[in-house]
Amino acid sequence: MQHRREIRFLLNGREVSVADVGASQTLLDFLRLDRRLTGTKEGCAEGDCGACTVLVGRLGAEGLSYQPVNACIRFLASCDGCHVVTVEHLSGPDGRLHPVQQAMVEHHGSQCGFCTPGFVMSLYALWMAVPKPSEKQVETALQGNLCRCTGYAPIIRAAVAVSQYGSPAADYLTTEREAITAQLRAMQDGARVVTGPEDNRAILPASVDDFAAALLEYPQATIVAGATDVGLWVTKFLKPIGPAIFIGHLDGLKEIEEGSDALTIGAGASYTDCEAAIGRHFPHLGPYWDRIAGWQVRNMGTVGGNIANGSPIGDTPPVLISLGAEVVLRKGDARRTLPLEAFFIDYGKQDRAAGEFVESIRVPLSAQGQRDAAYKISKRRDEDISSVAVGISVTLTGETITAARIAFGGMAATPKRAGEAEAALLGKTWGKAAFGAAAEALPRDFKPLSDWRASSDYRMLSAQNLLRRFYLEQDGAASPVQLTA
């Protein structure tokens, strides 16, 4: 089949076709510079402030669904076949305010107004998903939106009141859902898209198999799933990323298989995509999952990407390693499986050959007697990178510890198991002494760095204390041993 040379998508109410889209072209620059849709703002260009929040609607396996994303680090090419909705599209043709906008005005939710369009878009998405949210749900939805003026209180008051101003049933995206679906469906031609100039090529494979083939054709290509990391290579470091193979649209990589002995997560599944399954099978990861970045980034970023980029401070590797996760790598039609911890060789170095990609992650379900916990320490509770993160899985047979897997992030150049601490627990009787000994062993496992997130001393001390917390918590301490959200 012929490759398609242009990308096609719906922008607000119109179909747009853009030829020659370079891999590094961002959606935000396209909106502001090309289309002069200046309601969407650039606050940080790194996906942390949310001033650029737009909705992207996509036809997935479950039909059309809209999610708030950061336009600053979303690449334009990855919008192929999607419906992009900006703040300009919210108020009616007669200028009447949208219920979210009306609520924000009446509750004085804006001061300087620069962050406001982004808040409006996040709250729009929230209102469609949860018309009458609790304050807690609002806070979770707004983890990716910074406001420096209001202190948030009026925005929260607006958010919980939106439904008083209108119902999602009457919203444009609901009433036009079938028409939009039909339009998006009509755009799907099953073709591989190859666009952009030679040195900034963007490739959108037609399927997972086509991806495997394309990666053999372009073995040095940058693989872009959610772009929550690669986006910053472009916006912050001005690095060329072409040729880039975009995979965020591949439903075949988003499959989540809930087997009898393991949960298998497709490498293209976003944090949001796998949130429910994670919560069902690993309840201890539910609250932890809510603290991964902000909502927009959870909608874009993938577990596969979090692993494949090899960061020592990614949120998911430590907690997946402790659960005994394995990673499935694919090259062409050949696959191999590795224990996740073995994938991380050294800082910036992973066990992935040219032409090879992470296809899925297999997480074994917890065994009888296995006690699991996941903790994250960061300067700010939400939307922050961890100073220390840890996954702890300890198996008891009677009162004896018969298995222990403890993996830390932020303590070494890679996500890494605490072998000495694990050894201090193995074969010991469950109790304070065993965990005290494990904590004492930790300095033999790690020599953490000092940086702007935390000092070496703090990393070590809090890591040791997290082992103590685990014991206290699992042992049923009389008073709470950690703050809850």
Partner: protein
């Protein structure tokens, strides 16, 4: 006829922000949203990657040769003066010629067809340098014998030596207080359009258009009348656009004139945060003597500040730290000294509170020291030391405190927040909870209102009433989200007794009101509201004269009623009246002016009345900390704040809520972290953490002291609100401190430094465990 009963948007009523609808629809234009003329070029700054070095050579050939580049600009391209020091100290070059003084210092600008091209080209400079030793913080600077960037201030009253000698108790300590980045959501930006002859128009996100105008003129070597600076609104300022926009305005204007094309410059967030100044970090050595009841007898304090490489506004900032080192407390004998230290870091600048918060927090630390030393509830120590009573009303700068309302205000908050019972419950909780510990604190603020540079306390306004009865309002203040334009329009609506909607709010421009002061020091409504009222009163006086003459009535028989005017027995609509006045050739435009009365300040003597009045407030916060990790949560905050007779209660409440959260951020998660090489490593929201929605107190009760009225004749008896509530965030910090102190049974002051990140909290817990 409904609008004949009362006008919309009168003073003292809740009124939405004038741009609220434009904010939520994305229709509000910020500088980067203005449609660009054809051929607009884009500039970007090339910055140093070393900290303190001599420049041996600067090779820009690769920059010039980069794709899309039109040209570069260095110090040699400046036709006027290579200086943008806002206080005239001639210590802040646009581009340095021989010395790099901090990591990230702008060295040149590159101008290209697109911003992307300019940004990429800016990375290609080759700079040959010769390293010099550097000092990054005030302690290093003092040790290295670095100079002050500006003359220090000394405040002294009473007999300090005798005060210390005679007091039964004395504590000396040191407090380290971190700085703060403004993290306005809209970064710095300027957009210049060249005109004929020497003229240039600059659209700039700035709190101080007149200063941007003067700097552009200074750098171009043209008179101020050639330069127009415009700003419709900013996406946040907080002090960060009082002087820090100067380099961007200057570079955009220089390039626009050089190439005769419109030029825009917008740094990315990282460059914005590394190349522009922040709140000053302080290291304060305090010395406090007190009696056995905890009453302060003498205070000494040395306030060393990280000013950065140049003076910028560090003089007035460090002065204001001293002005507020008493907070709400009477010091019988006192000596305070500032040490505005030069450091090899970006030049620090104005930030909401302007040094005041760093003074206030030291006063609160001394209160804490006394409370732990005497075994008292810190609130009792606070109350015992409030200004008031015979001979206890003089500040360290010899201004009498005559309007203190803290006894009532704190008393009311203590009751409404149920402080005493909750404190006892917390002490009980801490006795049984092993890992989690709680703390509570009720802290006051007293904040002096007026620019301490007395000449800044002036303002102008311009009002046109058009012959269709519509009103055009302009004044020298700038809108950065605080609702200044809304409040001033309310004042004008009330003066003319017309609906708010009749008044067109327009961009701030140096063309309409000259020689304006920065919208800063919380002064916006006080100054510009008065100036606008003055303009309105002038027009009204002419209208009354006209009515008397035309209708043959006495002045008392002319009344401005809601949207109409009654003249004797006759009533006509405002429109019809204005039309009649126009036909009778009445001048319907006026320039208003205001200067704050009664203030004076002799800096050399350290005496005067620098402040027209004080604004007051108090907050009570409760926190829980995790003693295993140092993590914490703010459980509840209650605030009672004084805004006098509010011009717009709902907007004032928004200022109080927002300022509190920003103050809390300063003292908790917002940490500026330089590495030993002098690189700021927390320079974007990924690494610099301002509060999120989920960080705000779980319970948050905010009230205005609606019984308060300004005793001075301010605009409608209101009080300034921008800065004072920022310091209410200190209640969170003090509550954290109490939670830490619980680990050692409240026997010792934890001496928590700011910001109290989880790390600092845990390390303080460790110290207390060892105590």
């Amino acid at each position: 006829m409904k609008d004949n009963v009362t006008i919309t948007g009168s003073a003292h009523t809740d009124r939405i922000h004038d741009s609220a609808i434009k904010h939520v629809t994305g229709a509000a234009d910020y500088t980067d949203d203005i449609a660009q003329p054809e051929g607009t070029l884009h500039a970007y700054l090339g910055v140093s990657t070393v900290t303190h070095t001599r420049i041996v050579s600067l090779d820009l050939s690769a920059v010039r040769a980069a794709p899309g580049v039109v040209g570069v600009m260095t110090a040699a391209d400046i036709p006027g003066h290579n200086d943008i020091s806002p206080t005239g100290q001639n210590d802040e070059p646009v581009f340095p010629t021989d010395l790099i003084q901090f990591h990230g210092q702008p060295l040149f600008a590159v101008v290209a067809e697109t911003r992307d091209a300019a940004r990429r080209a800016a990375e290609l400079a080759k700079v040959e340098t010769e390293a010099l030793p550097h000092a990054l913080d005030p302690v290093q600077a003092i040790e290295a014998g670095y100079p002050h960037v500006t003359a220090p201030l000394k405040l002294e009253r009473g007999d300090v030596e005798a005060g210390f000698a005679n007091a039964p108790n004395r504590i000396k300590g040191r407090m380290v207080i971190g700085g703060q980045d403004h993290m306005y959501l809209e970064g710095q930006i300027a957009f210049a359009i060249p005109g004929e002859d020497d003229e240039v128009v600059v659209h700039c996100s700035t709190q101080h258009p007149s200063e941007a105008q003067h700097m552009v003129a200074h750098v171009l070597g043209v008179p101020s009348n050639a330069v127009v600076v415009n700003v419709r609104r900013m996406g946040g300022g907080f002090g960060g656009k009082e002087s820090q926009m100067n380099i961007f305005a200057a570079v955009a204007a220089l390039a626009a004139k050089k190439w005769n094309r419109a030029v825009k410059i917008r740094p990315d967030r990282d460059q914005d945060m590394t190349a522009t100044g922040k709140r000053h970090d302080f290291v304060v050595d305090y010395d406090v003597a007190f009696d056995d009841e905890g009453r302060i007898e003498a205070v000494g304090g040395s306030f060393a500040a990280r000013c950065g490489y140049s003076s910028d506004l560090s003089g007035p900032v460090t002065d204001r730290a001293l002005f507020h080192a008493d907070n709400a407390y009477f010091y019988p004998h006192v000596r305070l000294e500032s040490r505005p230290m030069k450091t090899n870091t970006v030049s620090n600048t104005a930030f909401r509170g302007f040094g005041g918060p760093q003074g206030v927090i030291v006063a609160e630390r001394m209160i804490e020291e006394i409370a732990y030393a005497t075994g008292q509830d810190p609130l009792d120590v606070r109350k015992a030391n409030f200004y008031g009573g015979e001979g206890r009303d003089l500040t360290p700068y010899h201004q009498q405190v005559t309007d203190n309302i803290l006894d009532r205000l704190v008393g009311e908050l203590e009751q409404s927040a149920d402080y005493r019972a909750r404190r006892q419950a917390i002490i009980d909780f801490n006795a049984s909870s092993k890992v989690l510990k709680k703390g509570i604190a009720l802290t006051p603020v007293k904040f002096g209102i007026s620019f301490t540079a007395t000449w800044y306390n002036q303002a102008g306004a311009l009002i046109h009433v058009y012959n269709d009865g519509s009103i055009h309002l302009n004044h020298g203040g700038t809108e950065m989200g605080q609702g200044l334009n809304t409040k001033v329009a309310q004042v004008v609506a009330e003066a003319f007794q017309v609906n708010f909607e009749r008044i067109k709010i327009t961009k701030t421009t140096t063309e309409k009101v000259p020689n304006t002061s920065a919208t800063a020091a919380s002064s916006g409504s006080d100054l510009n509201g008065m100036a606008a009222l003055n303009a309105a009163e002038q027009i009204k006086a002419r209208l009354v004269d006209f009515a008397c003459e035309h209708w043959g009535v006495a002045a008392e028989e002319v009344a401005f009623l809601p949207n109409r005017v009654r003249i004797g027995e006759e009533t006509l609509s405002f429109d019809a009246f204005i039309k009649a006045a126009y036909m009778a050739r009445v001048q319907l435009s006026a320039a208003g002016f205001y200067k704050t009365p009664d203030i004076h300040w002799d800096r050399d003597k350290g005496q005067g009345r620098p402040f027209y009045y004080y604004a007051y407030g108090a907050a009570c916060s409760e926190v829980t900390i995790d003693t295993l990790t140092g993590e914490y949560r703010v459980e509840r905050t209650d605030i009672l704040h004084d805004v006098g007779r509010s011009l717009n209660p709902v907007l004032d409440r928004g200022q109080v809520e927002g300022a509190f959260i920003q103050g809390m951020g300063w003292l908790t998660t917002e940490e500026l972290w330089w590495d030993t090489e002098g690189r700021l490593r927390t320079h974007a929201p990924s690494t610099y953490k301002i509060p999120l929605a989920s960080d705000r107190p779980r319970v948050f009760n905010v009230d205005l002291a609606d019984w308060s009225e300004n005793r001075e004749l301010t605009i409608k008896r209101s009080k300034a609100v921008g800065e004072p509530p920022f310091m209410l965030g200190i209640s969170v910090f003090e509550a954290l401190s109490m939670a830490v102190a619980s680990v050692a049974d409240y026997r010792e002051c934890p001496r928590l430094d700011a910001p109290a990140t989880p790390e600092r909290v845990l390390m303080a817990v460790q110290r207390m465990k060892g105590a």
